[in-house]
Symmetry: none
Subunit: 197 residues, 4 copies
DNA sequence: GATGAATGAGTGTTCATTCAT
DNA sequence: CATGAATGAACACTCATTCAT
């Protein structure tokens, strides 16, 4: 028997990353329909065949890109998460961080939006991705328990606490909403008015 | 030898309508990526060539489908619109009507969602479609003028008054939100709490 | 409702025939492995896409080609079939006709050979094709009943009465066997010696 | 840093044999068309690159597999060959041995069949392979000289003495022919009737 | 010797669109 | 107006082979 240690060329994380970035870029620019494997490959500066070394097929590439983004997003947002602060302060912090992240990474946000509303969306176990954001959900729960937040269905709370961010941070939808501190503060006030008891 | 019997003329609009419906159905079922012209034609029971009688090309078919839906939606929602009622009552009525309409026409809602987040979305002059819903926007304006609603950026008001409906009415996103009168009432209360002065 | 008679371009039997011929030619020259759809299309002077107007897929093209050949073969061989002659004369006639047909249509014979021994072979219901040759099989049956031919398993009779033809007519296998009347007569004598009672 | 431990050397012949077997298995199961180098490699549990250590290219692998099989076949069949027996007994023995071998090694028989009728067949110098079976051919020659066997073209004799075996032993072609001693005896009788003087 | 990564060239198939009828 | 046939261009994907290690 022969044993080899690190003898051959190894798969390259840089290449995988380049493929993720190429996928995001193209899907944002020209949409899923036009984002063909060969175009993605060209954008990532690899051969189309190379994609199949790293991913099972196009679907796998796209779903993996989505999951990768969601992971990065959750890490960025929860990086400085401090659960010891008062509920309102936690939520307010998250608002500012999310606005910051989304507006600096609009490409990820847009990709996620297209992905979620496309049939690809149904391929991803929603809970798998949601768990990355568990700490945020727990904050609302604690707020309810402490009788600071209205005791209503969680989907309702989310619809007013989280979704407005994704809408307001999207310049396509809100071209008149300037992303300055004052405006974010105002918007957060509305959100808080909605959910607070 | 060719014989050409024109026994009767099918109403063109019927075929156009069939194509709209086929487009919506297929895009919802298999997405933009897989919805080819020939599949849409088959679904509508016409020849692929016939599509080019009614539409310039595939893009025109899809954009026209979108605009047609938006028009239908606005008509349905504004059908019994009564601007003489108090602001809050008007908005509350719209909430119930929209929930009713969306949940009974989920296919339209889903199509619009996919369309808007895709590059097709940028092809439609946003204002053209938005004007269908002008009366709704005016209500908010009047609310602000009457100092019933917070005087903030309009995008913010929309993000709390309209977008939550599209989220909550979408069973894919809010599988725990049951669409009964009580829940809608509750959700509207949050929306109102958000925007009211 | 509108009724059209022969209004549009119709499928073209000549094109189908050209595709059959191109398939046979290429498979014989370069084998199944190298006979790609695009090469077959080029040989038949149509676009690759056109093949899919006439056949479901490549497999359908190849299987249809095989069945078409078998039908042509059976027609040619049974054209002047006279069941009133003595058994031996019938069989002898068939030998001469088959040698004639195969040596003049070696391409069909070779295609059938490759097809049958390939996995495509299992796709064709053997009985469907065999029934084209039913009259031949019946001759042997009558010979057995009349106690002219040995009463043994039919596969054995076939192995000595029919298969030797396919081998001897194949110049690749029998390069020393010249296809003149004398040689065929001799070969038939061996076949008859084998099966006669 | 690279570390290279050669703990033990696998016998090369084992790998070559594994590749032969994998080739035979796959070609039988999915045909030449689908038997790609990488699939054969996977089946043999080696890397695709390893194949190119043992063979020049894919063609070399397949042709070598064929020649290997032919050699094995001839060895098995001529193992207990006794040229001192009477001609008829020798031939009869060979019939039984060949039936035994083929039915126990149907995979080899099927591979040879596919190979021979494919363009690969023309790549192998027919005489190179035939010489393995020279003793069998010589028996017929002696039979002719001793005026026991008809003095006719050798291809004719082969067509009745050898080919029927390959037909009858192939269950795909002769599904009604059971391979018991009595049936083989009967079939051999027909073969002998055909060629004997 | 043996490997997994990498790829240009190719696969079978579908595409949006045009055209003669 | 309405069509099925026809197609060049593109699709997702696999191929046999090479290469650095």
């Amino acid at each position: 028997m022969i044993v080899y240690f690190r003898l051959m060329r190894m798969k390259d994380d840089e290449k995988k990353e380049a493929l993720f970035e190429a996928t995001v870029k193209l899907v944002n620019e020209i949409g899923f329909v036009s984002s063909s494997v060969s175009r993605i490959a060209k954008e990532a500066k690899v051969s189309p065949a190379t994609i199949y070394v790293y991913f099972e097929n196009k679907e796998d590439l796209i779903v993996s890109t989505y999951i990768d983004i969601k992971l990065k997003m959750s890490k960025a947002i929860l990086e400085n998460f401090d659960p010891t602060l008062p509920i309102r302060d936690i939520l307010r912090n998250v608002w500012f961080i999310m606005f910051d992240y989304i507006s600096n990474n609009l490409k990820y946000h847009k990709f996620v939006e297209q992905f979620s509303s496309s049939p690809y969306g149904t391929l991803v176990e929603k809970k798998v991705v949601e768990q990355y954001f568990d700490p945020l959900i727990n904050v609302l729960q604690r707020g309810v328990e402490q009788k600071i937040i209205k005791k209503v269905n969680f989907d309702i709370l989310s619809a007013f606490m989280w979704y407005p961010i994704t809408i307001l941070a999207n310049p396509r939808l809100c071209e008149n909403f300037e992303l300055n501190e004052e405006n974010i503060e105002t918007a957060f006030t509305l959100a808080w008015n909605a959910i607070k008891l």
